[in-house]
Symmetry: C2
Subunit: 137 residues, 2 copies
């Protein structure tokens, strides 16, 4: 198996959230509206994104720890430890963040989104549509 694959940032989060202690645990738990600013090289891939739709953002959680395999869920030490693959802890071997957000506005290479708990400066690595019913795919 190859040792690693090279993930390239395609954009970055602009958010008032500056550190983990202040960030909500999940996007729908009080995240402020944020912007995602994409790089010029992916402009064609963005062209059909529309305000009012939900999308899935994948991020690289660059302030997470990669050597953590068990955690107390939500950092609550009254809860027993769990393997990270049954939690949404940012600390995990490959710290990819998965965020369902609503697109509020599209402005060229920038989109404004609701319900994003990622910190300011977090790299974006992919955007995917939410899948509807099979007949709509």
């Amino acid at each position: 198996m190859p040792e690693s694959f090279a993930l390239r940032p395609i954009g970055r989060v602009e958010s008032p959230l500056l550190d983990r202690a202040a960030a909500p645990k999940q996007g729908d738990e009080g995240s402020p509206d944020a912007w995602v600013v994409f790089t010029e090289d992916v402009r064609p891939a963005l062209r059909d994104l529309a305000a009012g739709t939900d999308v899935i953002l994948l991020t690289w959680l660059d302030r997470a720890r990669r050597d953590v395999l068990v955690v107390h869920p939500r950092g609550d030490t009254s809860r027993p430890e769990q393997g990270v693959f049954t939690t949404r802890s940012p600390d995990r071997p490959n710290p990819i963040g998965l965020h369902r957000v609503t697109v509020l506005a599209v402005d060229g290479l920038r989109i404004q989104v609701r319900d994003l708990e990622a910190l300011d400066g977090t790299p974006i690595v992919d955007v995917k549509p939410v899948l509807g019913r099979p007949e709509d795919r």
Copy 2:
């Protein structure tokens, strides 16, 4: 912005699906049951995975093209081209696959899953729980 981030495989898919032409477009469109075999170093992270639950697998779609930015959805040339960020095409700048699957069995470092359309040998890069109601998190 850093040039790239190093994603490390944590396991691999074992599936009867051997090539893209034969694979379903989505997991729930006739995928055969498959196994995911994890590497020894992530054993503690797996320990709470349970049969009967749904999980999200993230894969590295190692047979995808990274230079494709617009596609005909589902490869159907009668449909107009779309930017890849509004499609689930495997061809995209960072070919991360997102798969909701049902865990059928857990056997040490191996789990059997339903509804996985990834090809045999596809590297796994993360496993996440499906989030339920906020009060269950």
